[in-house]
């Protein structure tokens, strides 16, 4: 399957979800890094996914950029042999399966499209023959439109994530009738997007009697907020009807300091919950982290009917899946 993210933020989101899903299913996960692993790991920790222990045990492995690039310098049979070794190794080690993702864009720089498509076809064969899961990520920064269209056509499934807003700096995803997740940075350039989001979300909440009275924004991946935006969040909460609250969850320390300086502690209808870093994976064990709710399906609980993260979505977030399949 493939994904075509709009932004780095979405690339991290999609990749982290894919990795977390593999860890949940007790699969071995291989990440071919070429400059994005750090962002994906950061996103995993934002998502409260304990990845430290899987990294230590080898359940999650990150292939360094040089090694990722080197694949495209080896012959096809050599690359296939290497992959088979990985796959057989994970079975021997007792993992429930094998999945891989990462940045393969180095391949398109060389002899596009012949080599790249061949490698992809070979990978596809492994997916069919050996039941592994592979997520190919084609983003517009690393691939041209033509390349993306061509690669889209040769993949059977495309993951698409419902996006409320994404300008490359800030990404907003609706996660429920009155909740959303923000990732990236808010400043003077995209401040109105937040105001609109709050307005429409509150409007939805007020119109529906069954909707929760808490408007919840998850700020785990919000790395910067400027003063005027923080002030507007505080003012928005103060402007809510008495029945409703604005709840900011998983707020990073830096963002929290800005909110504090902008009067957040004095706004009665604003609740701010600080991000509590995921403790060392060794303490919590691999797989689902209590309280996260996102990857709560433990290993073995899935039917294993195909390489599709997201088909165990029942009950997650009231029918707002993190990943939704298109095509």
């Amino acid at each position: 399957m493939c994904a075509v993210p709009l932004s780095e933020e979405q690339l991290w989101e999609v990749s982290a979800d894919f990795v977390a899903d593999g860890l949940d299913r007790n699969e071995r996960v291989l990440y071919f890094d070429d400059g994005t692993a750090e962002g994906v790991l950061n996103r995993l920790s934002d998502d409260h996914v304990a990845f430290e222990r899987p990294l230590r045990t080898g359940q999650l492995a990150i292939v360094p950029p040089e090694a990722t690039r080197a694949i495209f310098h080896t012959t096809l049979p050599e690359a296939r042999a290497m992959m088979l070794e990985h796959i057989d190794g994970s079975t021997a080690a007792g993992y429930a399966g094998f999945r891989m993702t990462g940045q393969m864009s180095h391949g398109v720089d060389r002899q596009w499209p012949a080599t790249f498509v061949e490698y992809d076809r070979e990978l596809d064969r492994l997916v069919r023959e050996r039941g592994i899961t592979a997520l190919c990520v084609y983003d517009r920064r690393r691939y041209s439109d033509e390349q993306i269209e061509r690669m889209r056509d040769v993949h059977r499934k495309e993951l698409s994530v419902p996006t409320a807003y994404d300008d490359g700096l800030l990404r907003v995803v609706r996660t429920g009738p009155t909740s959303a997740r923000l990732a990236g940075e808010v400043d003077h350039s995209n401040r109105p997007a937040i105001a609109r989001l709050l307005e429409t979300t509150l409007d939805d909440a007020l119109r529906s009697h069954s909707a929760p009275t808490d408007i919840e924004l998850n700020l785990a991946s919000l790395r910067f907020i400027d003063v005027a935006s923080a002030v507007s969040l505080v003012h928005a909460a103060e402007g809510f009807p008495d029945t409703h609250r604005l709840v900011l969850i998983d707020v990073r320390p830096g963002v929290l300091r800005v909110l504090d300086r902008c009067g957040a502690p004095f706004a009665a209808q604003l609740t701010v919950r600080e991000f509590e870093g995921s403790a060392d994976g060794a303490l919590r064990g691999p797989g689902p982290v209590a309280g996260s709710g996102r990857h709560a399906a433990g290993p073995g609980s899935t039917s294993g009917d195909g390489p599709s993260p997201g088909n165990d979505d029942t009950g997650r977030n009231n029918g707002y899946p993190d990943l939704r399949e298109a095509r």
Partner: protein
């Protein structure tokens, strides 16, 4: 939306008085009864004076609480920065122990080329301390090296202290008027910056990334680095929001921290001394510069024909 007024029923006002002395002995003689009287009322006494003067006035204060404001880290000849720091310390002190008497003495080492530091300082004090229960007595020499110092002092102080009595100064003018005649001076020029870039509102994230990179290269810890990035972001935002839409930033990194200069060709900061007064919670504007001032060791705003300029210095 909440509707409130910033006015309180019984406004506390700064009492800002100017006094002139002929000699150090004269200064001590004039200030002693003022300090003694404040001590009798149970007020704390804040001194920003030369060491010899300080020793004598401590005697006068007796058992009253005395706080000496040393030079500390230099404000780099930015009167507005000195006033902002003074306001921060006095706000804390007055919240603890009520009314405060402050005595300051002219120090020619801070005159700079034309002494306008003092005019800027007193104008900024009028803005920054306006809502604090502080009586501030500023002592100036009869014959300063630069006559502008005394002209500025007379224009800036609503009260004059003469022959042991306070009276209203007929020549007092508001800060904006005073600064129109004698605007804040540009700071000392620095060498070639480590980074120089032109930016618009859509490139503020690049400005932040540049500041974060430089801060990471020195002794800034994560929290301090984030605060400095925020401070620079706020000034940069002002420059593109109210200026011509495009502004320039220059960054220097040195052993004693990070220096940022932001230039725009418009009137991005309409007030002559922005960010000195705490913004009201219901006021959406003006908080950025206020917060930036709290986070920086120096924040100096000056204006000339080419536009508005801000220099910020932040130590780790």
């Amino acid at each position: 939306m909440r509707v409130e007024t910033t006015r309180t029923a019984a406004p506390v006002r700064l009492q800002h008085a100017c006094a002139v002395y002929s000699s150090s002995a004269d200064l001590v003689e004039q200030a002693t009864p003022v300090v003694a009287e404040a001590a009798r009322r149970g007020e704390a006494v804040v001194l920003s004076v030369r060491p010899e003067t300080e020793a004598r006035l401590r005697d006068a204060a007796g058992s009253a609480r005395v706080v000496a404001l040393g030079a500390g880290t230099p404000a780099r000849s930015s009167g507005q920065t000195t006033a902002a720091r003074l306001a921060r310390e006095l706000r804390e002190l007055t919240s603890q122990c009520g009314a405060v008497l402050a005595v300051s003495e002219h120090d020619s080492a801070l005159d700079g080329i034309d002494g306008r530091y003092w005019t800027e300082l007193d104008a900024a004090v009028n803005v920054a301390l306006t809502d604090l229960p502080v009586s501030m007595f500023c002592f100036y020499p009869e014959m300063p090296l630069h006559s502008e110092i005394l002209d500025g002092a007379i224009a800036n102080h609503p009260l004059l202290f003469e022959a042991g009595r306070l009276h209203v100064n007929a020549d007092h003018r508001p800060p904006r008027d005073v600064l129109a005649g004698m605007p804040a001076a540009p700071p000392v020029l620095l060498g070639a910056p480590d980074l120089d870039m032109v930016f618009s509102a859509w490139q503020l994230h690049e400005v932040r990334a540049a500041v974060a990179d430089l801060a990471a290269a020195t002794a800034f810890d994560t929290a301090r680095s984030e605060d400095v990035v925020l401070a620079v972001n706020e000034i940069a935002t002002n420059a593109v929001e109210h200026g011509s839409g495009e502004a320039r930033i220059a960054l220097w990194i040195a052993g004693d921290g990070l220096v940022a200069e932001i230039h725009d060709t418009g009137e991005s900061l309409a007030e002559p001394l922005p960010g000195l007064r705490a913004p009201h919670p219901a006021d959406p504007r003006g908080r950025g510069v206020w917060i930036a001032r709290q986070l920086c060791d120096v924040l100096h705003v000056w204006r000339d024909r080419s536009g508005t300029h801000v220099r910020m210095h932040a130590a780790p």
